[in-house]
């Protein structure tokens, strides 16, 4: 299963600043960091938006087969 991905555009000065922010952290790229922050943000709405519909389908099916529901 390959992820569906889209490209977002952000101002270059912001990108450069983020690059400095993640220096020395576990984040290997601005992209990785931004995805993390955005996932964290949508999580506050209580939705499983961090998963794609296909991932949700696979996980549900597995949980059902395992007897969890």
């Amino acid at each position: 299963m390959e992820y569906d991905r889209v490209t977002l555009k952000i101002p270059r000065p912001l990108y450069e600043r983020l690059k400095r922010v993640i220096e020395g952290t576990g984040f290997r790229s601005v992209n990785e960091f931004v995805v993390h922050v955005l996932r964290d943000l949508v999580a506050e709405t209580g939705e499983d938006a961090a998963l794609t519909p296909e991932e949700i389908r696979i996980i549900r099916e597995r949980l059902r087969k395992l007897g969890y529901f």
Partner: protein, 443 residues
Amino acid sequence: MISRVLVIGLDCLDPGLVERFLDDLPTLRGLIEAGEFRRLRSVDPPITVPAWMCAFTGRDPGELGVYGFRNRADRSYDGLRIATSAAFRARALWDELGEMGLRSIVVGVPGTYPPKPVKGLLVSGFLTPSTETTYTFPPSLKHRIAEIVGEYIIDVRNFRTQDKAHVIAEVHRMTERRFRLMEALMKDEAWDFAAFVEMGPDRLHHALWAHHDRTHPKHDPDSPYKDAIRDYYRFLDGWVGRLLDALPGDTQVIVMSDHGIQPMYGGIAVNEWLIREGYLALREYPREPARIDDLIARGLVDWSRTVAWGEGGYYGRIFLNVKGREPEGTVSPNEYDAVRRELAQKLEALTDEEGKPLGTRVLFPEEIYREVNGIPPDLIVYFGGLRWRSIGTVGKGIYWHENDTGPDDANHAPDGVFIASPPLAGRELSLPDIHDLILDLYR
């Protein structure tokens, strides 16, 4: 002086079985003799998600606002959402250790997909959809995993099968690869804390309980698999021994589980029962057995005449249809307590088919949790003290002896395992105590 901590998490490892097989488990016996062995009280509900994250955050399910694999995200009737890593807002042990500058290796902890960044390495748990996804932090770690173990097995595939030989082989393969991965990472990386969770014991207990348990009604004394669970415990013991051999002597070792196991004798179709007792109304009773989620999705529940509905799973969850809370609520808020108590009394009085008491327990969230966040079920139901499961399906009677999801003859028991060497706690423990117990070693 302890320099680091290793947690070997064995999902569903049962304290009674460890005691029973101990003569055949030289590694665990050695740890117990040099250390401490006690029962570790699970959380309510004693279910993998949220249980492991309760241990690693120090919070109970109410504080986390995570009551199971699926939780209501809102008050709609079909708003159940899978609990991913995003659902766990509390900081985990490895987040706190990271802030102290300490490095962690975290592998297979349920509730960690999608992976969040850590100081160290993280391989997400069994709710990872597949190894095609970015299931590690850092993302490049997954290529290294492939080099170390070949194909990494997240969880047993084709678990619901009568082909028991396949399940046994698959569980052993999965366990071996996870331990080999830990062995390699612990050897190659600098680390202060390492924790991993192996799902194998849970999968084998559920798949093979009737083969193992001579007192179970479905037990076949001629089964070729009657020693499969014991053999697997020995196999695990061997791998634990191999991991420990490579550790420096000043490592605090903890072998633990999130809950135990007990025989399961059947299922109670909770929605069928609610219909017969007049709490749940359908527009049309299904001709074929139908799952409650499907009935809700197809608009077949008559909410204007419904007081309560339930979900299936190893334990039962019942939600009340409350006025001003649910979209078409019928129970007025000032009747809420009385209706809920009445339901609890009736559920606890429920007998088996022969009229014998089932011993069902009903819990109210605000009475068992330190805080209640998110949307909890209104009633948490342990049918027959979890010797019966909850079945969401309508259209096939109340008492089931076959599971609606395939063969399964065991359910979770509230006590897990805690083995520490050197001895660590010296007192009664429940799952959320694990967090402070470990963190204190670094303070």
